[in-house]
Chain length 195, copies 2
DNA sequence: CCGACTATAAACCGATCTGTTTCCGACTGC
DNA sequence: GCAGTCGGAAACAGATCGGTTTATAGTCGG
């Protein structure tokens, strides 16, 4: 019975936290609402996590990877590095078109916290770096002239496009793909790799 | 006496609101703190503005332009369109290097609100469009191949670079300038305009 | 059946939230 | 001097905040 509906109290709590913090904001989400959404008591919550901030950081850390997994193409797939890079933006375009898209969860959290030393901010920084590292690796494989710089630029395009979608409350119409392609081309990475 | 220290109650309130909402967040800033910072009573505040949200929207609308004025070079200055575009990113690099930079105030507000219909979100949308329009105008003057698209791309770079600075709590090291230059070059806008 | 453990619901704490109201002193025009 | 108005200080209202505690219901191993 517990297997079908309830994965585990702690798990449910982390999921509910990641969901509500993202959809409604950190400060705007109270602990009571959180526990109610997770079907858990406050006492249990405070046994798992000492403070709301600790829960926030752990929810980002635990549920973050799953929420951004779609950006990274299956490593087993037969794709060129350039296609793997563009896959990130294809996925972003898809997400941004939906009305419940509120930007990158990590950026969103770090921006609201305004405290670089907050545990959740550190988690956000690590994940951003992870995406940049992914870009750099693929850029290097693609033979880009300056993979490190290109990776940072692509991350900027990713976050900028996400911000655009949020303030306009609209999709991106391929703009992020177009911009990423332009930067790839400027770094010598072209669609049909010529022999 | 009132002329030296106190501009006007309403003005002070708007300034304090813009400042605190930006520095500490919207939800995290209480009305009491706001009034205290502005040196005004809550009664007066609620005579000027019906709700906190109304104050927020109006503070963005009124104090927003001044807070972003530095991005736009003096129209009288002898600058090329390309230089005017890059001036935006030079200014951003300067701001991002300071520890009290928390990103674009409009994006920040819209992101925290998560409600595209909120008056403040509409204000944010208008200002973003204003910057894009500025980019587009300069891009057209510079003879870019596709000024409209280039303008959107530059706006994306602006917001993406701001986000990067926020999550890393560090400066940009010229990265936004570099990226903007690359997109300009891709659109056929080069530094020393050759005859 | 029993004691230990667990997790729940709910009350509770002081503080703070948005928003309203009351009171009172300081101006104003007359 | 004196009604009238203004705005500030502060109490107030009801709700919610993060966090703690109590009491109770269920679930184990022994």
């Amino acid at each position: 019975m517990t297997s079908t509906a309830k994965p585990a109290p702690r798990e449910r709590l982390l999921r509910a936290a990641a969901d509500l913090f993202y959809r409604e904001g950190i400060t705007a989400t109270g602990v009571d609402k959180l526990c109610q959404a997770a079907g858990i008591s406050k006492k249990s919550m405070y046994q798992f996590f000492a403070t709301k901030d600790e829960l926030l950081a752990e929810s980002l850390n635990t549920c973050g990877p799953a929420s951004v997994a779609g950006y990274f193409a299956d490593p087993a797939a037969d794709l060129t590095p350039r296609e793997r890079i563009l896959h990130v933006f294809e996925h972003l375009e898809k997400l941004a078109a939906e009305p419940d898209f509120f930007g990158c969860p990590f950026v969103s959290a770090a921006a609201e916290l305004r405290d670089p030393t907050h545990p959740a901010s550190l988690v956000a920084g690590r994940f951003k770096q992870m995406m940049t590292d992914y870009f750099e690796e693929q850029a290097r494989l693609a033979g880009a002239t300056d993979p490190e710089t290109l990776a940072k630029q692509l991350t900027i395009v990713y976050d900028g496009a996400a911000a655009r979608s949020v303030v306009r409350a609209a999709g991106l119409d391929g703009l992020s793909l177009l911009t990423a392609s332009a930067l790839l081309a400027a770094a010598g990475v072209h669609p049909a790799s010529p022999e």
